[in-house]
Amino acid sequence: MSAADRVGSERLGTASAAAAVGDRARRIAVNVALYTLAFATALALSALLVVVATDASPGTVFSAMYEGSLKTGAARGLTLDEATPVLIVGLGAVIASRAGIINIGPEGQLLIGATTATAVALHAEGPAWLVIGLTLVAGAAGGALWAGIAALLRFTRGVDVVISTLLLNFIAAEVVSYAVGRPWLLQETTSNLQKLPQSDRIPEELQLPRLGSFPGFNVSSAVFIAAALVVVVAFMMARSRWGFRLKMLGYNPTAARKAGVSVALMGGGALLLSGAFAGLSGGVMLTGTVFRLQPGFSQGIGFNGLLAALIARRNPIAVVPVAFFFGALRAGGGFLASTGVPRFLVDIVQALLVLAALFPPLFLDLARRRRELRNARAAARRTAPVPETVGAAA
């Protein structure tokens, strides 16, 4: 390469760097605009619905959402409590999506994790700290086991992961409902009156300690488990060989295979790990906030976590604010319901806000795909353009 070439290449480098900076600024501007538009639309629609369906004013609805999620210390604590399991599930989902696997089943994995965790918490003997630890590990193992079914089906029978994980959600719900309805399994034994389809409450000493107390800021110490996991996952993804190979697999499975990454081991492992995170989330909910297994235990947390990962894309750090957003939405929605706004309306308002958060990335993705499709079509037309008159001419 001649000296002149070198200079040329450097100039080219600078130019492309400058272009990259401009590109980045433009991308940020587009994102900000899209998010603003999406949330404004969601809020306007919510307001309209509230006015039409109830006699409450939209203002009171939004102030209730705010009051329930952010206004007071207790509300903020509740938001963190709600965000914690979403965050843990979301981290797991990010791991799977990094490997290019779409795990739709965190809801079911969470339920099974909670079931195994409940079994351990109610039956294991030993010092409290040890049993808490075992309970959480059992939760993770249960979730991994449930995801493992999908992994097994995928890598032995070629069953699509999206479908198997989705369907396993329904089976998990049935498993829980069976387990808590049978006295010889997990149905409650302590109540001497009516036996409900739920497990016994786990003993006080197995409940994760709470920091602070009502009416001030108070939060379950589970939030620190989630924070630690964020650090570990982000670090491992950025710095470890595992993270490197996971990324390679997700971006280009062919190149990864050539370089020695086994799709079955690495991809299956990522699926199992995401299941373990969902199951751990179930264990954390059990020991942190809910304290007993019930049929509706998961409360949609698994799906929230999945959505959080979808919004955060492949970035484990971005899951943190998104999970916080979901936590606020759940906390605010609960408070809104308690003001007498009908439950269906609360659900719709929550769903609209989630859609608003999902819209910009999906829109950009769709726009990109349309662009690619257009290019592909143009390429197809190049060879044999079809004029309108061809039928007549031929």
Partner: protein, 372 residues
């Protein structure tokens, strides 16, 4: 680049926790003050006895003395179910309108979320928290928390939940009411020459199984050779599976049907009517409607009405359970509808059985145990 990201991450995580904690700290004071004033006010009106046995909270019904009476209802089921849960709020609405009280209804609560919803409803400065069913029993410990200080808690327990000093509850004996319903069914069957009776319900839960056993025992006390079939659909509110189960029973020649269900009751009853089969209605008195043969009345609304009357009169006592007894209290009871020939005569026989139960001459629980 990588360490930069990590630093960012750490800062973000710690930041979030710290901000939340710090802000929480600020609010400790304000919120605490607010609570304190309320408690003082509540206590100022009279003797503050919460947590002590048999406490009669002062200033009923405006317990927190904010000038309005507010009732918060927590229901696990849909309060538009045209049945059990709806009857609960219908009663409350009638009372609220008559006395100019305010009502907040939160329904379809997931039991796992019960505690948080209970706290939320307390923050709406309600005077009474009414829990529509025992499924939400996990919310009850919240009654002891500061956020709910100065509220009266009521639980419509069905078969009852464990009593604490922080709430009062009403319950009934499922064996008594369903045994009586069985006796009425048996009498109608005998009069109409029917020998096979069907019971359609939701999940195979303890109380549903008990209800079926007691009902069967009641029928057999009249018609020892009668046959009863139970179908557990798994869902109280799924009309489709309810009708499916009912159809299967009809195909087996069932002549009278007891849809012991939530939201799916009407669909099943409708199917029975279409096939010219008698039907029993659970919960409320619906003898006026359709062609129901028997009303098995154990409506939670009726129990709640009694509780609200006490509340209005300032007589609610915390820490006690009031069990409604058949033959003694107006509810639960069983009514044979006028659509049945010789209803008055049959009703007299049913009333007789209720009196015997009240007097302890019949033990439905034992009968059901034998019958099951």
């Amino acid at each position: 680049m990588i360490s930069h990201k990590l630093r960012y991450l750490l800062a973000l995580t710690m930041g979030l926790v710290l901000v939340a904690a710090a802000c929480g700290g600020d609010d400790d004071d304000t919120a605490g003050e607010g609570e304190a004033t309320e408690t003082t006010e509540g206590g100022g009106g009279g003797e503050d006895c919460w947590g002590e046995p048999e406490c009669v909270p002062p200033n009923q019904p405006d317990v927190n003395q904010d000038g309005t009476v507010k009732i918060g209802i927590l229901s696990p089921g849909d309060t538009n179910d045209n049945g059990y849960y709806e009857s609960f709020v219908v009663t409350a609405r009638e009372f609220a309108e008559a006395n100019d009280w305010e009502l907040i209804i939160v329904d379809k609560i997931n039991p796992a979320d019960a505690q948080e919803q209970a706290r939320n409803i307390c923050r709406q400065s309600v005077d009474m928290v009414a829990i529509a069913a025992g499924e939400l029993a996990d919310a009850v410990p919240v009654a002891e928390e500061d956020v709910c200080a100065g509220t009266v808690w009521y639980v419509s327990g069905g078969a009852g939940i464990e009593q604490t000093p922080y709430f009062f509850q009403t319950n009934d004996d499922v064996f008594e009411s369903q045994y009586t319903a069985g006796v009425a069914t048996g009498l109608v069957m005998k009069a109409q020459g029917v020998t096979k009776a069907g019971f359609v319900t939701g999940p195979e839960l303890d109380f549903a199984v008990n209800a079926f056993n007691a009902w069967t025992a009641g029928i057999k006390s009249v018609l020892p050779d009668a046959e009863t079939i139970a179908t557990y659909t798994g869902d109280f509110d799924d009309s489709a599976v309810g009708q499916e189960g009912a159809q299967a029973q009809l195909d087996q020649g069932v002549g009278i049907m007891y849809p012991y269900l939530g939201g799916a009751t009407d669909a099943v009853a409708q199917l029975a009517f279409e096939n010219g089969v008698l039907s029993i209605t659970p919960g409320t008195d619906r003898c006026g409607e359709e062609q129901f043969a028997i009303s098995s009345i154990f409506s939670p609304g009726d129990f709640f009405a009694a509780a609200l009357e006490d509340f209005e009169a300032g007589k609610v006592t915390l820490g006690v359970t009031r069990t409604f007894e058949i033959g003694v209290d107006p509810v639960p009871t069983v009514k044979i509808c006028d659509t049945v020939e010789g209803a008055a005569d049959l009703q007299a026989q049913v009333d007789d059985v209720m009196a015997q139960i009240a007097a302890g001459e019949i033990d439905p629980a034992a009968e059901a145990g034998a019958g099951g």
